[in-house]
Symmetry: D4
Subunit: 248 residues, 8 copies
């Protein structure tokens, strides 16, 4: 029952078509979402134009194709993360000519029409080259959500001048996403150089005692520079999304 | 050697007082910061008006007083977190009448002049009453940095309607800070209800298997709602600062 | 706005005192909880007669007293866990003669009128004597919630016959709460002997590698006997509550 | 030596066929189980009609087939969890026409006659679609044990209205099983909405810092709503069994 | 009901004073322990002369005194570990002149008559001087259980010759207990030098990354020399007991 | 320089062929092992007849074959653990007819002549059937080292009577090895029933929160029954070896 | 802009071709690295002749080949660690006859001209044979960096005389690298025998509770002998590099 | 038996006072250390002038005083770390006028004569002011061992220019000790700027998720700049000692 239905109910009550008791019952049984009230509207507003992402691992290709089709149909845009080329092929076949692209480095399928890049610049930085797939997931997500995106890769703290040299890029960003594995030190350094939020993404890149990204995660949680927002290990999508929400 | 010194050097070179070789040597030895070049300027800009916080534990009262005095002198504003009333008294004495306040719930000393609250609303939410000290640290920090702050305490997910009822508060916020211990579920729920960034602060509140906030930290890192930025356990200052940086 | 208020609104609409648009606005702004709709009613039903517990650590005595007073006033019954004798004294003073008791071993304050013990037997078992404070917290909670409670203490697996001898107690229980530290093996053994649910409570009792109850917690999570429900370390209140919910 | 044998021994003693000393010796050597005494009888009662489950990983197909055959022969019903289609085929061949079914989503083999669904409703809820295999293991287990089962999938807290809308389902359940990975927040929310026990099953679904389900496990252990019973990560069978034991 | 009671029952049956049915009932209800059957006898044999230890932390002095009194009365010997001098004084008062000693370094109270040292030599070795309290707990326990004990302290691997020099002590031992904190390397070295079992006790001695003995515990679990039996962190009593059981 | 060389040196000194100073120098440079002195002799004694085991994972087949050949040549007996059938075939080929056997369940190759079983009985117990491979590694190791071995499998605490029934087996053992995964409770129960040492082997068998055997390991470290010696996760060889050293 | 460009700028200023203001602007915009100033020069000095290593896992063969080619071109020497034979073949093809070698045990590709071994001796020690691949990575790295390297493998503490016998090797070393898994005890022992720095490399070799090298890592961090420098688990390259930096 | 005794034995052999067989026996039984042979001599050489440190926590003041007295007597120099002023007073009294100093910030007692600072410069760097106590422990240790020491405190990566400005200090050092808590990023940055070894000391300084230094420890283990040697959390003594061993 949507907003119109509630209004109709109230008119019917006023017009004598339903009794107060019947109206009470109808309202009482009203599914929460269907009320069309502010919270829910807002909720939908939040999602309008912002595709929910399908995280592919652990889902069958059939499930993924079905979800993407439904999302494209109802919202015109869908993202699938950690998608194989096979998933892309299957999604493409199922969409009957609707636009769909495969971002290989980011391992993402983007289906439907992406909005123009109207938001300010999101700078995506990596410490090393092995961090690039996660960074690309973040970058593509931010682009799909309407942000301008600049990439600055392989500027880890082992050669600190590599990032110091890029002060113009850093200063021109509205949000900086920093992707780093190993000791995860780069977000601290970057946050000390800029006055915009830094989204830190730990990656699972590293020798044994990185413990699949735990070392970088803890380092980023403990960043001595305030202004660092940490997301989950290898979660490029989350970083891109968070940056987009920040970038208004 | 500051900007003026570099200019003087160049003039001396032009005027024949130094040779090119001597100028090369002088520039080569130039301390990085003293150049007064853009990166450093920018760096200072970042900090202008944004007080660095003094984390009191592990420092002697003498050290704290000295740092606060120096910060107030050079920047006009200083924060001391996890400060005892004794520290406040000592700071107050040392400042010779400069404004200084003690925020008891937040355990913070704020010295110097705070800016007017010109930035949009930061909503500070807690799951329980035991989370309030951390939340107050976040709230006072955000206020001191010039943000309007609203508090919404004790609305944890055990009674989910408590937060659902506050949709106006949620919708009026530019950033939401969610402070929660135990299972740390509230940021996920809140992030599903708003379209602004959510800063999640795990607290060390809870029975044994909270492991001093680890449970809440991991939960927040794994929030199924995108748009959640996690900071360190009990780090109210960090949350307030991050929210302020986001709130432009 | 409660149920009556909604009904009055609908009557006013029907009677022409408010317009449809005004009624829409009023409903839209309706605080969720105040609707008095089914979900909330149910919610209250859940809590009726079941006191919410105040976990004292991390709260000031003033806060505790205020909460307990309010709970006793509105619900007639309140529990405070991990309460010191001082808290009890302060609560007692504040309640002006309302019934209030201090359970020393359980470290609990129970204020207000407790219901008669009408529910079937909850058997509370401990592996050792050091587990008794947690067990008492569980036992008192279950009693306060209207369950009959039997205690069987110090029957750990080091002398397995101690629990095997008590088959009548085990068989007469509707729910068994097993409280154990160290290796936490007792719930597995007990669950293999009964056909009712076993609530397992790990305690922080033990030498170094118990890691404050982690060893017992993991053991209980991995119980080879199905039918074991694990709650948090040292969480006697949670165990008593869960047992009561199970014991219908 | 069974009950009859003990009785025969006593008769022989009475009849003078054995001496008191011989009877003492015989009783002394009596195998515990074979006594047929109450504890053991009870023990068997517990298991009657409740199939022990065979956890397939780490066992050879030969072992699995042999155990299932023996269980079906002696108890008429057997469950094999985490079973591949190949195991199903092999079990089916070996059973000579006895009823046997393969539940693909649940990865379970059910052999023998299942009882009618006479127990009240067990509601199985998941936060996401990736949690479904574990949920199905729980659901099939509960069904096989004679419970009515309702499924409610993909109602995680990122869109809290999805679960709030289902209040009728929630209120009609005798036990609710909540299966969730990532931050594991759903059990807390659900437990705040119902007055029946909630069995929480953490899953290993999630990005890096879920640490294979540890994040969800800890969150559920720390649920701020009392009434949550936690079982092992991905342990659908355990959840279904526990729910059935609770559902009397 | 003890052995005599069973025998009396059988005689009564034989003598016609009870019927077979009544005898069946009586046996059926027979408390397990009271049967006096082999398993229980054996069980008692195990404990005869081997005092159960009272672990003092978490118990009130009253509880400790009561347990020790009862143990001394029924078994003539009792141990209390981690006991303060105050506990010793209270125990002493309560025992009315029965022998009782306080081992200060070991923090143990030994009450009742200790057996003569008839068993072969148990060598107790420590890596450092800070490990001595735990080592003394092990040594006193072994002595109280009738073992000859030799102490060899402060021979850690930083000066490997210190232990190599003591080959006669090592070769004369029937069991070696090695107590070590920090990296816990000494048990591996010792086990490579002897042909008797080595009981390894990790201690919580060490800088930060010892994590209260976890480092030493893991090291000992991974000892490259076979023949190492690990007990809990700081568990001197357990080591002394295990060594005594091995030393036959 | 071996024993003969030292003797020759001393004779030369006595005979005036070398000076005292030269003899001092020669002794000073003497390789430790080659002295043939007591410590080293003892060291060899330790190893006589006790084969060192080759842990196959991480070694090439060539390395394994070479080590086994050399061990068989010098010590007549060699063990290879975690060996595949292929390794067995390769070892067999290389040994030219020397006795060599493959123990499939234990995944072990035993090459050379095994001693007769002259030592008292080692009882190997498992909680479940999935623990059998580790148990077989322990059992075969103990047999190869000259111990009589009895197996008692699948007697976990979920059906505690299964182990209680076997009191004769338990009482007849000189050492009991208990192999268990999941909650690792069986060693505690067994140690409460016997008066001989219990070697506890945690296995990596279990659902998620067993964390590859960590849960069982911690449980066994915290066994409330004293007399439990813990070895590494899945380390059947270590358990068999330790049991043999204890079994004198 | 390089050193020459700065010099040209200064000459132009002196020659009147640019104004002081223009020179200030040019210097201000000067890319940091391109200045060729001291810090950067130093920085380059550090790297001169010291090849940066390419860690192959997580990079495509194309990326690896491209990086190695560029490094050989600009610096004449390149290392690739954890390289497969296929990577070696691809690198070899791409280098058109430049020297390139594959170190199979070390899993390393070394491309370009290696310097002569002029630095003092680095002794590389392993506890076991399974530690050799990591040790070889360290040894080859040290050799490539111009150090003389000696290998001493399989001298773990289970047979402590194996390392004690090698005092000449130990005393002749300028740095000792000790590679060990399991309990990681060898560095402590070695550091007690030498007066040079010991670089400790934990390896992931071991049974379950080694937790992929965590046990050895913690042990080495807690080495009771001072003078031990710990690097990451399995990080042979890091150890070889650190030893080389120490070996001046 | 010392060197003189061995020589006497050889003389007696030469002089016919003992037979070759007797000499063999005497040598065979010779305590290892007392031989005074090379390994032990070397061992002593290592320690000459290098005081062993007494770690005070967990030792009684009596023990500390006794050890220090003995060390001063035999080696002329002794260090006590984590020493209180009371310990200092007691040590001072006991030494009868021998030089003894208390370093308050470092919490160290230095007794006996310290050598002149002849070794090259050790630079001790901290990230924050709370890291100073650990840094002072390192600095004083290095000074006592004869190294020149320079301090550079509070130059953490939040303001990266603070350390970049100090290139002269960095370049003049023979070894750099970097002390940092929180995210522990500074060693990576410093190691990228220098060509000498960096000793990294994690500290327990930080908010909750530093987990008492674990975050910094892991970060330093994973430093992306090679050339970083990690020591234990808060282990200033170990860092100073290691730096001294490196600084030849």
């Amino acid at each position: 029952m949507d907003r119109a239905a509630v209004e109709r109910l109230l008119r019917d009550l006023k017009g004598g078509k339903v009794t107060v008791k019947e109206a009470m019952e109808a309202l009482r049984a009203l599914p929460y979402e269907d009320l069309g009230f502010a919270k829910i509207d807002t909720h939908r507003e939040i999602r309008r134009g912002i595709p929910e992402a399908v995280y592919c691992p652990g889902k069958t290709t059939e499930q993924i194709v079905a979800i993407v089709k439904k999302m494209v149909a109802s919202r015109s845009l869908a993202l699938a993360t950690r998608a194989t080329p096979e998933i892309y092929e299957r999604v493409k076949e199922s969409l009957d000519g609707a636009p769909v692209a495969y971002h290989e480095k980011a391992r993402m399928v983007v289906a439907g029409k992406t909005p123009p890049a109207r938001r300010g610049n999101v700078l995506v930085v990596t410490a090393g080259t092995s961090d690039i797939p996660v960074a690309e997931e973040a970058a593509v997500t931010a682009e799909v959500l309407g942000n301008r995106v600049t990439r600055l890769y392989d500027v880890g703290v082992a050669g600190i001048h590599r990032v110091l040299d890029q002060r113009e890029l850093l200063q021109g960003a509205k949000v900086v996403i920093v992707v780093a594995g190993m000791e995860g030190a780069l977000p601290s350094v970057v946050a000390g150089l800029v006055d915009v939020p830094v989204v830190a993404v730990p990656t699972s890149v590293g020798y044994g005692a990185s413990f699949d990204g735990l070392a970088a995660l803890l380092a980023m949680m403990n960043a001595c520079s305030p202004g660092v927002a940490v997301v989950n290990i290898d979660n490029g999508f989350g970083a891109g999304y968070l940056a987009s929400v920040m970038n208004r």
